[in-house]
């Protein structure tokens, strides 16, 4: 351990003297305060907070990733090329200690920088409301929807029964010979599926639609509230683009009980909302039944409306923690990324020269940045091509870590959505526990066998 520390210290001393470190640090020191002033988002306080904090943390994460890659690839390969390692290795030090020391040094430096700059982003974000002259309403909204960590329970779609219904309809159409000539069976199926999905989201005139939410476990707090967040379209378009709705929220099973004794309240609202915008309203969290289930219902009243309403979004949210807590979890997600890149850089440079190692590392990093996107795209590709990808790119995408989609830090902060421990733990286990460990083990294996003084020209 002593040796690992000595090497780590030395690596840090080396890294802080690299020009790229100075460039990255300066860039962040200049850009972050500047962004906090010039970024305004959609003009509201909330928008400013969202755009600054998400771009800020993304920038920190991106630049530190590049720095990690550069330093990690540089350190060991330069020690080998300049032969400084020839001397170190003749001391009572084992080779794995050198690899681990390099890795530790690079990780430590970048984690420290991450902590510092994430701290700056956090501090600036907290300072923004007091630096702007926003209305109290806007402040309240920012407090409720941004400076929070909320858990989202999405609208549940019963895909299984939907699939069944589509299958039945398809078979029926086939039997009757009503499948259009110019459509393959697969195409017909996807059209039917679309219809089914729209139907599941839409509320006909004079109809009531209920959404059941389960496993809503709100932390005990007398002032706790539930947020209902939704977005809808209306066909045909209403004249003022507004839709009137009668809402009820609560445990509706209580209506069926014999004595009709209500343990939890049921709230009713009537509100008019614009179409194609995201809206949120709150109800006291006491509406949730003891088993964590709650139902939201929407009545498309024929007296007020004349359109079919299609809900493209319907979620239930509740606060589970503070903004600070969520922010630090997001920073941990970035830390996982940096540690992985550090391990990869050190591991690659046990046998590759600096430029090649950097190239490999950058490639993996950028592949990781589009990984989730590609995976989804590949899954959507037709059967034959899909098969090819399945065995080539997908395999590659599968073994490299993911840095986008749910693994990207910005999304959680923008929506004030909590980054669950479970997800963080999973990312840690896969990226650090498996992928990183594997890289380090391979790196040590190679490094133990290689001739340190070997010269390749």
């Amino acid at each position: 351990m002593r040796n690992i520390w000595a090497v780590a210290n030395n690596t840090i001393a080396q890294a802080v003297r690299m020009k790229i470190s100075a460039v990255v640090i300066l860039l962040l020191l200049i850009l972050l305060p500047m962004m906090s002033v010039i970024m305004i988002g959609d003009g509201t306080l909330m928008g400013k907070l969202q755009s600054f904090s998400s771009y800020g943390i993304s920038l920190v994460s991106f630049l530190l990733s590049l720095l990690t890659i550069a330093v990690a690839c540089y350190s060991l390969s330069t020690d080998l090329r300049r032969r400084t390692l020839d001397l170190v290795i003749t001391k009572p030090i084992l080779r794995y200690q050198i690899v681990l020391g390099k890795f530790l040094g690079v990780s430590l430096l970048n984690l420290l920088l991450l902590a510092a700059f994430a701290g700056i982003v956090y501090g600036l974000t907290l300072a923004i409301p007091s630096l702007t002259n926003a209305e109290p309403v806007e402040r309240a909204r920012a407090q409720a929807e941004f400076f929070t960590a909320r858990k989202t329970v999405p609208m549940k779609m019963d895909t299984e029964s939907m699939n069944q219904r589509v299958q039945q309809r398809l078979e029926k159409l086939e039997k009757e010979g009503q499948l259009p000539e110019n459509m393959t069976r697969l195409q017909a199926r996807s059209v039917l599926m679309e219809q089914e999905q729209t139907a599941a989201k839409s509320v006909e005139l004079a109809a009531v639609r209920e959404w059941d939410f389960q496993k809503v476990h709100i932390p005990p707090d007398p002032n706790a509230v539930l947020f209902i967040r939704y977005k809808f379209e209306a066909v045909p378009e209403p004249p003022n683009s507004e839709v009137f709705g009668q809402w009820r929220i609560g445990d509706f099973r209580q209506f069926q009980t014999a004595d009709r004794r209500f343990m939890t309240p049921i709230y009713g609202f009537e509100r008019s909302d614009s179409v194609r915008d995201v809206h949120e309203f709150t109800v006291p969290a006491t509406v949730v039944a003891e088993d964590g289930s709650v139902t939201v219902s929407f009545y498309n009243s024929p007296e007020m409306n004349f359109s079919t309403i299609i809900f493209s979004q319907m979620e239930l949210l509740y606060k589970v923690g503070s903004f600070g807590m969520n922010f630090s979890r997001v920073v941990l997600l970035v830390a996982i990324r940096l540690v992985f890149l550090a391990a990869m850089g050190v591991s690659l440079s046990t046998w590759l020269s600096f430029p090649v190692a950097v190239l490999c590392n950058i490639s993996v990093f950028f592949a990781g940045l589009v990984n989730t996107f590609f995976m989804d795209a590949i899954d959507g590709i037709g059967a034959f091509m899909g098969l090819i990808y399945q065995f080539t790119i997908k395999w590659f995408l599968y073994i490299i870590p993911r840095f986008d989609g749910p693994y990207s830090p910005a999304g959680y902060i923008v929506s004030g959505e909590v980054l669950p421990w479970l997800f963080l733990g999973k990312a840690f286990l896969i990226t650090i526990g498996i992928q990183m460990t594997l890289l380090i083990v391979v790196g040590i294996y190679i490094f133990r066998r290689r001739e340190i003084a070997k010269v390749t020209v």
Binding site: T84, L87, K91, A453
Partner: protein, 420 residues
């Protein structure tokens, strides 16, 4: 734990190193069937022209390169074993130091790897910096040092763990004559303290004064090996050194010698190691021994000769400047040189103290060890006896056997004679 548990401090068995080219074909045979044996407590001079495989051998000893065939052992084991590398000090052919660390940080870094407690580390660093003459410059970045200064830090680094075995790859390259001399003195002192030293060099003047035994490598093969004295001695000739003699006396001596030997020549034979070395190399070249190193043609001789001519006058100056002289003082005692040598004498114990601080072994025990185990008598510290004196002593013994008329000549005696 002493070195004595294994017979050799360094042992290679049929060691081979072939550097393949990019396609894996054998390209350079850098070391061929090398059986290098270095005894404990010995200063071994590992010589050879450029590219003869010295550095390659050292790198294999230290596991920086893998032998193609054969085995290399240091201190009875592999240098990858921390228990063994703990007792080794290594100075690579160039000082591969971290340029961004200061001298002090450099030594501290290596000291930490050796697990020295911080107090000991600090103490040793001060001592070492003083010893290599960089005491005032310890807080400058190594990258800003001149090559010679880096070399000194390299040497300090090699001594930080008070090693039992010191492997030095051309320690004097890039050093000024003062530094060269200091290193040589240091090596002698370390030798007396029971250290084993593998001194690798092509600067023969370095090796001659210091080494107990030498081996000459050419084309990766050991050409010759043995004690310096024995190799340089002309067995079929006898040399008598004396102060300047009257022609009459010379004639008498000549007459006496003619009774015993068919020929006599009155001159001062100056066969230095240089000559010998060049002979060996050219002999190897004539027999078309393969080498991957520099094929110097006549260049080697010319280069070396030039080296000697340049060095000689400086050396005399240095002898007076640095420490106790290697030669007898001039017959007429010059007051100025007396003072200088006195000053040197005074300076010496100071340096000794530094060394004592560095090495755990007490001087007495180290000396007793060296007396029993050294294959050849160690050069005594004050004043360092010139090799030539040993030659003379043997000569004297033989002379006594024959007729006893040859007077024992020694540096002091020679001086006395001229005074009388």
């Amino acid at each position: 734990m002493g070195i004595s548990e294994s017979q050799y401090a360094i042992e290679t068995i049929k060691l081979n190193k072939i550097f393949p080219d990019w396609w894996g074909r054998a390209r350079v045979k850098a070391v061929i069937d090398l059986d290098l044996k270095v005894y404990p407590n010995e200063i071994y001079g590992f010589l050879g022209p450029n590219g003869s495989g010295k550095t390659t051998t050292i790198k294999m000893l230290l596991n920086l390169l893998h032998p193609t065939r054969g085995h290399a052992f240091v201190l009875g084991g592999q240098s990858t074993d921390p228990a063994i590398s703990r007792r080794i000090g290594y100075l690579p052919e160039e000082s591969y130091l971290y340029r961004y660390l200061t001298a002090r940080e450099t030594l501290d870094f290596y000291g930490r790897i050796f697990g020295l407690p911080s107090a000991v580390r600090k103490d040793r660093i001060d001592t070492l910096l003083e010893m290599v003459g960089l005491a005032g410059m310890g807080n400058r970045r190594v990258g800003t040092y001149s090559k010679g200064m880096m070399r000194r830090i390299g040497l300090a680094q090699a001594l930080i763990n008070d090693p039992d075995l010191l492997i030095l790859d051309e320690p004097t390259s890039g050093l000024d004559p003062m530094g060269t001399r200091q290193i040589k003195d240091l090596l002698v002192e370390l030798g007396q303290r029971g250290k084993t030293i593998l001194l690798c060099s092509h600067l023969l003047a370095d090796v001659e004064d210091v080494c107990d035994r030498i081996g000459i490598l050419y084309g990766g093969q050991m050409q010759v090996e043995g004690p310096v004295r024995q190799l340089l001695q002309h067995r079929d000739e006898t040399q008598i050194l004396a102060g300047s003699l009257q022609p009459r006396t010379l004639e008498k001596i000549e007459a006496i010698i003619r009774e015993d030997s068919s020929w006599v020549e009155v001159s001062s034979p100056m066969d230095k190691l240089e000559t010998y070395f060049v002979n060996i190399v050219s002999r190897a070249r004539q027999s078309k021994a393969p080498t991957s190193g520099a094929e110097a043609g006549t260049g080697v001789k010319g280069f070396l000769a030039g080296q000697v001519r340049e060095k000689a006058p400086e050396k005399e100056v240095l002898d007076r400047l640095v420490s106790a002289s290697m030669r007898p003082p001039s017959p007429e005692p010059d007051t100025r040189t007396e003072k200088a040598s006195n000053a040197a004498e005074k300076a010496r114990p100071g340096k000794k103290e530094l060394l004592d601080k560095l090495s755990k072994t007490s001087l007495e025990s180290a000396e007793s060890v060296s007396e029993t185990t050294k294959p050849s008598p160690a050069p005594s510290p004050e004043p360092p006896r010139p090799v030539r004196k040993d030659l003379l002593e043997e000569l004297i013994d033989r002379g006594r056997k024959s007729d006893g008329r040859t007077e024992p000549t020694d540096s002091s005696d020679a001086e006395g004679n001229t005074h009388a």
